[in-house]
């Protein structure tokens, strides 16, 4: 008997390789591993389900809302919700100080929060990732400029600047998206920059360069797919932050303007009645809280699921 050695001839060896246990691959692809982990992650499932439901509610608001969220009926002011004293099924969540159906306003409120959160996170995600990837990948003076921009951004008090800007450019949904988008890109930049720095010295980047790939191709086709998971994690946390700040601005009267049904604004409007009609602040506050919990859990879940082996 001799040790099995590789034969020099072009014949049998390649055929034999397929049956050789050394050439077995692990059965699960990375995506399958991720899905398997996701199925067992309670927080992720909860977060995704709640966020999905709220999104559906926002999209189908006109079909779901029992009444016009702007229609005032002064004879029906401050009706308690169905579980309160004199509550009726006509106004399940009661009415506000102008007699508007609270449930309908809550349903439409989801639209505003999600729109602002999603597009603001998208804006800051694009700005931050672009800066972070360029700085981290190219290094040198380009990176110094990016680090400097991040430092400037971090030194700005976000709420104060947002408040000031919203008095200057107004409180429309679009201006809120832009304000928040341009004020919360720092975390994207920090995360993508450090990832790009790690990946820059990876041998697969060197191999891509050695294959003759250009910088653009390397950044978009090699780097970006490898940072996408973490960008999604940051995006979810950032979306939660944007929604919260938008609510603060609205609460302070400098965000979404009346009579729009924004949850933060509804809490501000309900504040005058909070001691005897607490549902006016409890309901929109709870809606905000549940939405933000869901988004945060989704973000945590994505991080756990996509973490490298043994680090979840």
């Amino acid at each position: 008997m001799t040790m099995p050695v590789m034969e020099t001839g072009p014949g049998g060896r390649f055929g034999a390789a397929a049956a050789d246990p050394a050439f077995e691959v692990a059965p699960l692809s990375p995506r399958q591993v991720m899905l398997r982990r996701a199925r067992g992650h309670v927080g992720l499932i909860f977060g995704a389900t709640v966020l999905g439901l709220v999104t559906l509610v926002a999209i189908f608001a006109p079909y779901l809302a029992p009444a016009d969220p702007y229609a005032q009926e002064l004879s029906k002011r401050l009706i308690e919700p169905v579980w309160g004293a004199h509550g009726t099924w006509q106004h399940v969540f009661g009415t506000d100080g102008y007699g508007r159906d609270y449930l309908s306003r809550m349903i439409y409120g989801a639209r505003i929060s999600l729109t602002i959160g999603f597009f603001a996170a998208l804006t800051s995600g694009i700005i931050g990732s672009a800066l972070g990837l360029t700085g981290g990948y190219f290094g040198g003076w380009i990176d110094s400029v990016v680090v400097y921009l991040i430092n400037v951004k971090l030194a700005l008090p976000i709420i104060l600047v947002a408040l000031a800007l919203s008095t200057v450019i107004g409180g429309s949904t679009l201006s809120l998206i832009l304000i928040l988008g341009f004020l919360s890109w720092d975390r994207f930049a920090v995360v993508t920059r450090s990832l790009a720095q790690q990946l820059r010295s990876s041998e697969f980047i060197a191999a891509a360069r050695a294959a003759g790939a250009g910088q653009g191709r390397i950044i978009f086709r090699e780097l970006l797919p490898n940072v996408l998971n973490q960008v999604i994690v940051v995006a979810s946390l950032d979306m939660a932050l944007d929604i919260a700040i938008a609510a603060v601005l609205s609460f302070l009267g400098l965000g979404v303007r009346p009579p729009n049904p924004d949850w933060g604004l509804m809490i501000a409007e309900g504040r005058a009645y909070m001691f005897f009609k607490p549902y006016l602040i409890v309901l929109p506050g709870l809606a905000l809280f549940v939405l933000l919990v869901a988004i945060n859990m989704l973000g945590d879940g994505v991080r756990d699921v996509t973490a490298p082996e043994g680090r979840s």
Partner: protein
């Protein structure tokens, strides 16, 4: 060490200059100052005269340098409404803001660091799950809403604590606790992940292999390394807490920096807003500089690197 400090200082100064330019630009973007200053019924000639009086007809870079020059000498300008010096306004109110900021930071640290540590040492235990729940709660709860709920529960229902104003130490309890909830989650997460990383490191295995007692391994070898990022985060958090939380000070009727900023924004008193913006940024810049120095002191790799 000196070279490290000088490098950080240069960056800090550059950032400060940029922030002041942003503040200045924000003031200019808010509208024609001369129109505001000259009053509602001013004629174009009066407006032009006002502009000339305040130097607003000069080129913007000159105006900026003039303003920045006075800023460096501690002259933050005057309020458009009360004509008080902004530096006096800030000095008057910083005490209240500090009175909320420091307790908030202490509460957050006292809860989050031990909790994060235990969570890291007992990963996936009930402590870990609780810590995670606390972090998610703190991240997700809208601050102004939490403030209102706390007011309702402790001020109105239980009547334990005052809910408005800043006349006694008790007035600071609810605002501090509310802010603590907001700044707590990142500390918790950072302590936990930092501690997990450190406990899995080779030098902790070395410490065990030396036969050191668990307390010594934990507190001497692990915590010292895990604490490094916490220092930076504490500086950042304190920087922002010193800027005053607009929403908390408004809800609890605390006469601090945040409240001042908010009122000034509402009445378009932009010299004050601008000054506060620069002041808060400077607080942040100085504190991060200090934290860099503390870290350099704690970590020889930074100091000598």
């Amino acid at each position: 060490m000196l070279r490290f400090f000088v490098r950080r200082l240069i960056i800090a100064v550059l950032v400060a200059i940029t922030v002041s330019i942003i503040g200045f630009a924000l003031l200019r973007a808010s509208g024609n100052l001369a129109v505001i200053l000259a009053g509602d019924r001013a004629t174009p000639a009066e407006i032009a005269a006002t502009a000339h009086k305040y130097g607003l007809d000069r080129p913007l870079p000159i105006q900026y340098l003039d303003w920045a020059g006075r800023l460096v000498q501690g002259d933050f300008g005057r309020s458009l409404f009360t004509d008080e010096k902004v530096s006096d306004l800030i000095a008057e109110r910083i005490g209240v803001t500090i009175g909320v900021a420091i307790p908030a930071l202490i509460i957050a640290l006292v809860i989050s660091v031990p909790l994060g540590m235990v969570a890291a040492l007992r990963a996936n235990s009930w402590v870990d799950r609780t810590a995670l729940a606390v972090a998610v709660f703190g991240q997700a709860i809208p601050l102004f809403w939490l403030a209102l709920v706390l007011i309702f529960v402790f001020g109105v229902m239980l009547r334990w604590l005052p809910i408005s104003g800043s006349s006694t130490p008790a007035h600071f309890i609810l605002p501090s606790v509310t802010l603590a909830v907001a700044v707590l989650p990142p500390f918790m997460r950072l302590t936990r992940t930092g501690m997990i990383d450190v406990m899995n490191s080779d030098y902790i295995r070395t410490a065990w292999a030396k036969g050191l007692k668990p307390g010594r391994v934990l507190f001497k070898h692990a915590l010292r390394n895990a604490i490094l990022p916490i220092v930076s985060l504490a500086a950042v958090s304190l920087g922002f807490l010193l800027g005053g939380s607009v929403v908390i000070e408004t809800i609890f009727a605390l006469n601090g920096i945040g409240q001042l900023a908010y009122q000034s924004i509402l009445r378009v008193d932009f010299p004050v807003v601008q000054a506060i913006l620069v002041f808060v940024s400077l607080c942040y810049i100085v504190l991060t500089l200090i934290s860099d120095l503390i870290n350099a002191k704690l970590d020889p790799r930074i100091r000598l690197g």
